[in-house]
């Protein structure tokens, strides 16, 4: 895609503006954070006014919202979902569990640091983050998109080996499907 080329500055601007104002979210409701999504989306906080909207499948989504802790088992699925999404794509880590394990810091089956496995563009702190915080996170993401800095997908593509290695460490027997961009 042309968003990373230096030419077409105006074109880029328009494109990024459109992307910024149309964020389709695939909420991967693994953890307790999933309960914060409905108030964010519905009447009280109304994320749709920012162009944030739910998407049903990874093929249509722009943002993968990981709402809480990830066990080794769900991590596999999350990776799979992320790889099925189409460029451009972003990841938002939601809640402290994705940052440093949170209250599961000593659990034998949850991962502690998400960005070792997936390229996270924005982290939203809190346990759980309130909808205001979520909206702030989306705003941050929009800012990054507008600046063209939300290039996690690019990072992932370039450092695929490294990410794969990390992923393999916790699930060595998993036959990972090919990544097709």
């Amino acid at each position: 895609m042309s968003y990373d080329k230096d030419s077409h500055k105006i074109f880029d601007f328009i494109q990024n503006w459109a992307r910024k104002h149309s964020i389709w979210v695939l909420a991967y409701g693994t953890g307790c954070g999933a309960i914060e999504i409905p108030p964010t989306m519905t009447s009280r906080y109304d994320a749709e006014r920012l162009g944030v909207r739910g998407a049903a499948t990874p093929r249509q989504a722009d943002v993968l919202l990981i709402t809480g802790y990830l066990t080794t088992k769900t991590l596999k699925r999350v990776i799979r979902v992320y790889e099925q999404m189409q460029d451009p794509k972003y990841v938002i880590g939601f809640g402290s569990c994705t940052i440093n394990g949170g209250m599961y810091y000593d659990s034998y089956n949850t991962i502690k640091v998400l960005d070792k496995y997936l390229p996270v563009d924005v982290y939203i702190n809190g346990c759980m983050p309130r909808p205001e915080a979520v909206l702030a996170g989306f705003a941050k993401l929009q800012q990054l998109i507008a600046e063209g800095k939300a290039n996690g997908a690019q990072k992932y593509k370039e450092n695929l080996e490294w990410y794969r290695e990390n992923q393999k460490r916790i699930s060595p027997h998993w036959v990972m499907p090919e990544y097709n961009w």
């Binding site: 991967y28 499948t57 769900t74 596999k76 699925r77 999350v78 799979r80 979902v81 099925q84 097709n180």
Partner: protein
């Protein structure tokens, strides 16, 4: 020698020679078979034109064979589809046992169909009709698996139909003293009133059985699905049309005496409508492609019967056009099923999936067949449907048009099921080895499918002979009033112009296809059907994610009241009752000598006592 008789002799001799040659190794029998189908067909196209006739006497009956325009039209269906099916059969039937019987019956059925179309007298009509019946019966039971019931059912119904027809024939004979169809039609007006009713009804039973009209259709699903697919394409495409041909002759031939809106016509049209709805609903419920197509044939013939029943010029055009189209697309579809069955060994949707990339040509042919079947423009099925609706609306059959519309809308359901079940869905490891069908099987399919495409834009090609046939039956000329080469009109002058529609569709389609592909054609790559959004789960190799069981269950639940009882149930009950009754008569023969002697004595005594009443003395 007259070409007509020569055609029949070649057919007959070819059938026997092929049968005799069937045990010889090598390609001799195939060559003979193809020759004995193709040579007479070529002779038919070159040496015969409408109006040729051949007369002779046999067993005290005058026989007259003549090629009428209408017969010529149906003969086009029979010969065209026959040749295609024959080419297909050579490849499809390879390595089957008892090939001689297959070829023999195949040739005989083509011959008998042509015979029916050429006959202008009722005796030879009936003779060819019966030859057709038993040769197709032998085809139904040919594969030999679980055919007892199916074969007997087919033959019983055919026999009932044929004998009803025979009764009508002898009644006509007793009334007119002649076996000529023309004579029958001419003198129909002079018949007594009850004869005027009974004779058409009897004929209708005969033709209705062949064209699988409700409630006489129960043989059709089994028979269609059990005979070899190479033949079923002919069976459903051409053989069932003979019933339609007969109906056209009887109904349209007596046009002057059955004016439009006559109750008899309405009854037939409604029977056709019910057939269409029932066939469609049952087709939706099937899991086996052959059964599905069989019920679909029943439904399609229902439309044709509606058209024939209504009997306005536009309706007749519609019915006959649909007959041609049905031959084309149903031939294609049955051939496709045959190809799939040959390549995979089964024709059940629940077993085979995802063949689209393995058998692309078969898919293409099926796709076109299905689009034509569903009546979607720009393929030919649409033309027939359009004319049928317009004729129904124009002739004030308001409820019937709703019924037909319901049926043809519901037909989308099974159309989709057919394509999805075989070609789409998950590509399974089990069918990885499947290859495209042999060339000889694909070519006929593609040709037939191409026919639907051509006729969708230039229906005039076929409507012209249809119109000629109708004129022979006493209809006014219809060109310019209802149709042009690529235009259709209804009763009120509203039109559909097919050519620009085709171009518009092609243009838009091409534009958007290019639009979808051009930007990053190279970056786009194929991913297997396992790579789908399944909540992140990666399906295992052996896992099957195809959704095909209970495919239309919600819909079937919605229409459940319509499908509660199968007519089969009543027929079976009737059959059982009859057998029980016969078991009772069987007991008359006790096997005891005294009883028999007693019978003899009683016989004498009774007659001696009743002699006055019995003999009037």
């Amino acid at each position: 020698m007259n070409t007509i008789i020569l055609i029949f002799i070649i057919f007959l001799a070819g059938a026997i020679l092929t049968f005799l040659a069937s045990n010889i190794k090598g390609l001799l029998k195939e060559v003979l078979f193809l020759a004995s189908v193709i040579v007479p067909v070529v002779m038919f196209f070159t040496g015969v034109k409408a109006g040729d006739s051949f007369n002779f006497h046999l067993a005290g009956f005058a026989f007259q064979w003549e090629i009428t325009p209408l017969g010529y039209l149906f003969a086009l269906i029979v010969t065209g589809l026959g040749v295609m099916a024959a080419i297909y059969a050579v490849s499809a039937m390879q390595k089957t046992k008892n090939l001689g019987l297959f070829y023999f019956n195949f040739i005989l059925s083509i011959m008998s169909m042509l015979g029916i179309l050429f006959s202008r007298d009722l005796v030879s009509f009936f003779i060819f009709w019966e030859i057709m019946t038993w040769s197709s019966y032998l085809m139904v039971v040919y594969q030999g698996k679980d055919v007892q019931k199916v074969g007997i059912k087919y033959f019983i119904f055919s026999a009932i139909g044929a004998y009803a027809m025979l009764m009508a024939i002898v009644m006509v004979y007793s009334l007119t003293g002649s076996m000529m169809i023309d004579k029958m039609i001419q003198s129909y007006a002079g018949f007594a009133f009850n004869m005027q009713i009974i004779i058409p009804i009897l004929f209708l039973i005969g033709f209705g059985v062949k064209s699988a009209m409700m409630p006489l259709h129960v043989w059709a699903p089994g028979a269609y699905s059990h005979s070899p697919m190479a033949f079923t394409s002919l069976f459903s495409g051409a053989l069932s049309k003979m019933g339609i041909y007969g109906m056209v002759i009887v109904m349209a031939g007596m046009i002057a005496y059955f004016p439009e809106g006559h109750w008899f016509r309405i009854v037939i049209a409604w029977l056709g409508g019910i057939t269409a709805v029932g066939g469609t609903l049952w087709a939706i419920a099937q899991d086996d492609a052959k059964k599905l197509l069989a019920y679909s044939s029943v439904a399609q013939l229902g439309y044709i019967i509606v058209g024939v029943g209504i009997g306005t010029p536009l309706a007749m055009l519609a019915a006959l056009f649909m007959a041609v189209m049905h031959a084309l697309f149903k031939g294609t579809l049955f051939m496709a099923v045959g190809a799939i069955e040959k390549q995979t060994g089964t024709s059940n949707f629940t077993e085979v999936t995802g063949l689209i990339r393995k058998m692309p040509l078969t898919f293409l042919a099926s796709l076109m067949g299905i689009i034509a079947l569903a009546g979607i423009p720009p393929l030919g099925g649409f033309v027939g449907k359009w004319m049928l609706y317009e004729s129904l609306i124009g002739s004030d059959h308001y409820l019937l048009v709703i019924v037909i519309f319901f049926s043809s809308t519901a037909a989308f359901l099974y159309c989709y099921k057919f394509l999805f079940g075989f070609f789409l869905g998950q590509e399974e490891k089990e069918w990885e080895h499947v290859k495209e069908a042999p060339v000889l099987m694909v070519i006929p399919m593609i040709i037939l499918a191409g026919g639907t495409f051509l006729l969708g834009t230039f229906p005039g090609l076929v409507i012209k002979p249809i119109s000629a046939g109708l004129e022979q039956l006493g209809y006014a000329a219809t060109q310019g009033k209802y149709w042009e080469m690529s235009m259709l009109f209804n009763e009120w002058g509203d039109q559909v112009v097919l050519e620009p529609i085709l171009y518009a569709i092609i243009a838009v389609f091409a534009f958007f296809l290019v639009f979808l592909l051009i930007k990053n054609h190279k970056n786009t790559r194929y991913v297997s059907t396992k790579d789908i959004s399944t909540s992140g789960e990666v399906p295992k190799e052996h896992e099957n994610l195809t959704f095909i069981q209970n495919f239309f269950q919600p819909f079937l639940r919605a229409v459940e009241p319509l499908m509660k009882r199968q007519i089969d149930f009543y027929y079976n009950g009737f059959g059982k009752g009859i057998e029980a009754l016969f078991d009772f008569t069987r007991r008359i023969y006790t096997g005891n000598g005294q009883t028999y002697a007693l019978y003899a004595i009683i016989f004498v005594v009774i007659f001696l006592l009743l002699k006055t009443t019995l003999f009037g003395i």
